[in-house]
């Protein structure tokens, strides 16, 4: 392994950015590919797939065998609001492999009694996110219903390109939220990324069912990262399928 490749890989991993170490198993030469780096042909398609799934493996391309070692940051979920939905969401998200943190400055809500074994911050999102910035491997769900608490976090999530941004509230509530986010400087394209009303439409009625709908939407968002680009390029899509076989 090239020492420079190892240093680069570790730097990317420390910064919570995805990277793939591509090794030519024939001659041992290797290089680091970062998410979004252009790589052509069959190898490029296999790399795109490895970034999406996080799965490592060998691929035949250009008459050579390459090993792709995919290093994806651990995805995580930040929930704004220590509410009933969050109580159900916390254990579900942990089991699904998405470590969760809850932020809510309302100390009556954010108590360890209500949230045993959960990383809980009884502080304003502004303060917590300054210490622990959001990133593209973080999902953010805002469920307080309170603009004073939700809005800053939603804008921060859009700016940090969180892979998922969801906000609780009816269409009417969301329309008002859109006005406020525009006033905060968010673009229409950014705002279009917000999932609102929050959660997949499974007819969820109880807080726990809404938690299921939110978690399913988070998983879907994570596993379909980058697919928008692939969908507009049908050629690379067919190569992806070939590698599936």
């Amino acid at each position: 392994m090239d020492p420079y490749a190892l240093k680069t890989l570790n730097a990317e991993r420390r910064a919570r950015r995805a990277a793939i170490l591509v090794t030519d198993l024939g001659d041992g030469r290797d290089r680091i590919v970062r998410e979004g780096d252009p790589v052509a042909g069959d190898l490029g398609a296999a790399i795109a797939k490895a970034f999406r799934t996080g799965n490592s493996g060998s691929v035949e391309a250009e008459g050579r065998t390459f090993f792709l070692n995919a290093h994806l940051p651990q995805p995580r979920l930040v929930v704004i609001g220590a509410v009933h939905i969050s109580q159900a969401l916390a254990p579900m998200a942990r089991i699904a492999g998405y470590p969760l943190e809850i932020i809510d400055p309302r100390t009556a809500f954010a108590t360890s009694d209500r949230f045993p074994d959960v990383a809980l911050h009884a502080e304003w999102p502004e303060d917590v996110l300054k210490r622990q910035p959001l990133d593209s491997y973080t999902a953010l769900a805002a469920v307080t219903h309170d603009p004073k608490v939700d809005d800053f976090a939603l804008k921060a999530a859009l700016d940090a390109r969180c892979f998922y941004v969801g906000a609780l509230g009816s269409r009417k509530t969301h329309a008002k939220r859109v006005e406020r986010l525009l006033a905060l400087g968010a673009s229409a394209d950014q705002i279009a990324r917000i999932h609102a009303p929050i959660g997949l439409d499974i007819g969820a009625a109880s807080p726990a069912e809404i938690a299921v709908a939110v978690l399913a939407q988070v998983v879907h968002a994570f596993r379909s990262r980058g697919l928008e680009a692939a969908a507009s390029a049908p050629k690379s899509q067919s190569i992806l399928e070939k590698h599936d076989a």
Partner: protein, 112 residues
């Protein structure tokens, strides 16, 4: 640590390998590149080894690490990468609750 948001630097094989390199040590990196059946460690897992035979990480549940370390010291000497293949012994597999013995392929290369 599984599911940790940040790297567990004290136990992360690739971070340890970089540290060894900075200390001027010769290092080999072993990587699981293929598995069949019930292999204990997933594809992409690392074992890192120095010239004295110190190692961190794992490529199996402890079954083949000894053999990989021996090969790795050779790889550090010669600088030539090797592909190793192991069948996980049925009895060992049974003890850790796997229904049958798996097989793994491990790529061993020198760092630098």
């Amino acid at each position: 640590m599984e599911n940790s948001i940040y790297l567990d630097e004290a136990r992360d094989p690739l971070i340890i390998a970089e540290g060894w390199m900075k200390d001027g040590k010769d290092v080999a990196i072993a990587t699981v590149v293929e598995t069949w059946g019930s292999a204990p460690r997933p594809v992409g897992s690392h074992l890192v080894i120095d010239a004295d035979g110190n190692f961190h990480g794992s490529v199996s549940g402890g079954c083949v690490e000894g053999a990989v370390v021996t090969e790795a010291i050779d790889v550090i000497d010669t600088g030539k990468a090797r592909m190793l293949e192991f069948g996980v012994a049925d009895e060992t597999a049974w003890q850790v609750g796997l229904s049958c013995g798996g097989r793994i392929k491990v790529y061993v290369e020198r760092l630098g």
